[in-house]
Symmetry: C2
Subunit: 203 residues, 2 copies
């Protein structure tokens, strides 16, 4: 019985992801998702009490995808530079591929649904751990010297995330998400920053 | 005659700055500023068509103060590290001293008055020039090797500004400005980042 419920929940999440990825949060209705699955609206609401809650769950699924894929790439990488490049490019590629899902989180808009806002610190915390792993790789194999790995990872991660602020400053539209083309520009700046930063950790 | 007009305009700006610095934009009225100066409201509106325009002018004055003071400190500094420390601490001290004036710009809120928003790219452009000057100091005196000074300055500046994002991620309140205590924490992170980054530019 629980297994069947899980399967239904997963079906709803997958249908919702397709809808949100195409049309975004605002232009998707619960009725449309129910229709896609030939489910009743009541069944949908049994699993997800409102659209924001459903959206937050889809968002969390996409966040888990980022974490899983980047973790694998970091493990496979030879050396700190390759690990960092893989982390940055994989991360941004998944965000690009799920553009309409990440749009809300990326646009710093004040109407961010609270359920979505709760997912972000979890991603941030996980990413600090990933950058810490990358730095430890560098300490072990590439001669990096790091006083406090977690603090250093945090400074580097925040700097990298801040690249988005730069784009926003330039285009003067603080409340629009970056376009798909601007993602590539952000990635370029992030790669340059990471290279200089990692070089700065060599004694 | 023009000189007299300039003097009046300056008096209004100074009175407005005191009001805004104490009470912020929302809790200050044009009537109060006029009263402080024993000016008529009509005279105030002759110089500044609305409160947002007046606020933007006060904001621009504070921005000019940042630029003037940091430029002097950068010129006086011996070496790239001292110049960078002076730039960061002076900048943040003026923002702290004029907390209620910068609050709006700092809080990423969507209701940023358009007149204020126009001042920000000007500050950003000027700050890129200042960080470029700091880097050139480092190239000349401290053995830094930099391919493209302006691009590198931009990446460093954006990273430093991004430290604010980090605070916001942690406190989970994307739309509140940092508290005065958090400014000191931001400065600490900025100084660590700048040190590693500048070290990374040594060949």
């Amino acid at each position: 019985m629980a297994k069947n419920a899980d399967a239904k929940r997963m079906k709803i999440l997958e249908a919702a992801k397709r809808r949100f990825a195409h049309f975004g949060l605002a232009k998707t209705t619960m009725a449309e998702i129910a229709q896609d699955l030939s489910f009743s609206k009541a069944l949908l609401y049994y699993y997800f009490p409102d659209k924001n809650r459903l959206y937050a769950s889809v968002f969390e699924m996409a966040v888990d995808e980022i974490i899983t894929e980047t973790t694998a790439k970091i493990e496979d990488a030879n050396g700190v530079c390759q690990a960092m490049d893989a982390f940055l490019s994989t991360r941004l590629q998944i965000i690009k591929d799920n553009y309409s899902i990440f749009e809300y989180a990326y646009s710093l808009r004040s109407e961010l649904p609270p359920d979505v806002e709760e997912v972000l610190p979890k991603l941030f915390e996980k990413e600090i751990q990933q950058v810490s792993t990358i730095l430890r790789k560098g300490i072990k194999h590439d001669g990096l010297v790091v006083d406090d790995v977690e603090v250093t990872a945090k400074i580097l991660l925040i700097s990298l995330l801040g690249m988005r602020l730069g784009i926003l400053q330039e285009v003067k539209s603080l409340f629009l998400p970056p376009s798909k083309e601007e993602f590539d520009y952000i990635l370029g700046l992030q790669q340059k920053l990471a290279k200089i930063f990692l070089n700065g950790l060599k004694s």
